[in-house]
């Protein structure tokens, strides 16, 4: 796997001609979005103001505002669609190739629902979507990750559906270097942080939807996470002292809520993230260092999981 500085160099040097072309497209697109945005706002105002003055009902304004945002969002997505697709093909795809030749990138695919449900981290979704799937092998260890959005349906008494988010963010699945049979789930510790150790522990042990609570012997880890498993010993076999330290460091690096599970000899990591991973920013230059670093950083952090957690080390009797 290549270093971060190699990737940054690659971004600025090898991709330079493409960046130049795309930067022109981006400026044109930005201009178009601003013009269309102004026209769209004017049209909306022209319809809404006379309507409000004739009906004099505040609901019209609220309804109007929702309509304005929703329709605006659809138009915006439609406008940037081609640019986004070109950006991913010409920038992200080569960047991933450069990172490791054993990785492949599929901009329209995502982690399967089966893998998401298998992780046991969240309830089963009624609807899911995602994109930017990266899959392959790093140091002989299989890994795949993508953006994933899982939602649950709620039906009200009138039979109308509404959707709530179960998970949105980055979902990573990788082979684990130890064999295990049971399932162990590591969740962000909200109860203990909110209610303190004593009541928090008691509440956690009463979580009916989960297996047995496992108290871990690493104070920092125990403060950040809560562990449930169907096997007290196996949970500790998987979560050795060094893995606990590394996961704590990881959580700090990501800076987002981290959900981890160990099921069927795989590690599943869900990083709750309110942003798409490889989406281009229309209002910021492609040459800005911050823009480049964002893509490189995300890629490096995720693929670095294998090396940092030493998932490639097979010192155990697990067959290679």
């Amino acid at each position: 796997m290549k270093s971060k500085s190699f990737l940054t160099d690659f971004y600025y040097k090898s991709l330079y001609p493409i960046l130049e072309d795309l930067e022109k497209d981006r400026k044109q697109l930005r201009y178009r979005i601003i013009v269309i945005g102004i026209i769209y706002t004017l049209i909306f105002a022209l319809i809404l103001i006379p309507l409000y003055s004739s009906i004099q009902d505040e609901d019209v304004l609220i309804f109007g505002a929702f309509g304005y945002i929703a329709l605006g969002g659809i138009i915006y997505k439609f406008l940037i669609k081609d640019y986004t697709s070109e950006f991913k093909e010409k920038i992200i795809s080569p960047l991933i190739d450069a990172l490791d030749e054993n990785l492949s990138y599929h901009k329209d695919l995502h982690i399967s629902e089966h893998l998401f449900s298998r992780s046991k981290l969240f309830s089963n979704p009624d609807r899911h979507s995602g994109n930017d799937l990266v899959k392959g092998e790093i140091k002989n260890t299989k890994i795949r990750f993508s953006d994933f959005h899982a939602e649950k349906r709620h039906r009200n008494s009138k039979g109308r559906d509404s959707w709530s988010t179960i998970f949105k963010g980055l979902f990573v699945v990788a082979e684990f270097n130890k064999n295990f049979i049971g399932q162990t789930v590591v969740l962000p510790d909200t109860a203990q942080n909110t209610f303190g150790d004593l009541i928090g522990h008691w509440l956690q042990s009463k979580n009916i939807g989960r297996d047995e609570l496992v108290k871990m012997d690493d104070t920092e880890f125990e403060k950040k996470f809560v562990v449930y498993s169907d096997d007290q010993i196996e949970a500790r076999y998987i979560l050795s002292h060094s893995i606990m330290k590394k996961l704590s460091t990881f959580e700090k690096k990501f800076g987002h809520p981290l959900y981890i599970s160990f099921v069927r000899n795989h590690i599943h990591l869900a990083i709750y993230y309110d942003k798409d991973m490889f989406e281009p920013s229309i209002f910021r230059s492609l040459f800005e260092y911050k823009t480049a670093m964002e893509y490189v950083d995300t890629l490096h952090l995720v693929t670095g999981i294998i090396e940092e957690l030493k998932l490639n080390q097979r010192i155990w009797s697990k067959s290679e």
Binding site: K215, D217, Q232, I233, R236, Y237, S240, W316, S317
Partner: protein, 185 residues
């Protein structure tokens, strides 16, 4: 229902809950110790094989090998107490640790397929033992807390429950790896 009766029922209920929770904690300790025992046996089963494979090469380490063999024989004796098992485990862990370090000095051994396989298996068993030790220690801590804390301590002394011993972590495991030493060797 009269008030004294309600109070009596509540008191009985609380006593039953306390009793059950204590029994539950004691059984948890015993269950987990059974798993520790299984893992320890797995390791003891590996030892004769390991000793046989390395003894041809390791002439200078005769005393170490003898010690490992003797400790294994002690551990395999029938009817030894849990405390004794815990003590023997600590001794064997450190003896095997020294043996594995000694293996590093014999290039022939390091290249030997059989020894490598044994080493991997031993690594895994050690890791599993360490996991079950930690699980056991947690169960014992919960149990010890319950028999010492108010109000369960009264019930525990009535039931004649005594504190249990935890596994001490072997000193060698706790030490950080000395990188300087590694590079110099």
């Amino acid at each position: 229902m009269s008030t004294p009766l309600i109070i009596l029922i509540v008191v009985i209920l609380v006593l039953v809950l306390m009793y059950n929770s204590l029994v539950n904690k004691k059984n948890q300790v015993e269950n987990i110790f059974a798993s520790v025992d299984i893992q320890l046996k797995k390791r003891y089963d590996l030892i004769p094989n390991l000793v046989a494979s390395v003894s041809k090469y390791m002439e200078h380490e005769k005393s170490l090998l003898e010690e490992v063999t003797k400790l294994r024989a002690d551990a395999n004796k029938a009817n030894i107490s849990d405390e004794k098992k815990i003590e023997l485990d600590a001794k064997i862990s450190s003896a095997l640790g020294s043996l594995m370090i000694a293996v590093e000095n014999y290039p022939d051994l390091k290249a030997n397929e059989n020894v490598m396989h044994l080493q991997r298996t031993l690594n895994e068993v050690e890791e599993q033992i360490s996991a079950s030790r930690r699980a056991y220690n947690q169960a014992v801590t919960d149990y010890n807390n319950a028999i010492e804390m108010i109000p369960t301590n009264f019930m525990a002394s009535a039931m004649n429950y005594k504190r249990k011993q935890v596994f001490e972590i072997v000193e060698a495991e706790r030490k950080n790896v000395d990188v300087k030493k590694l590079f110099n060797s």
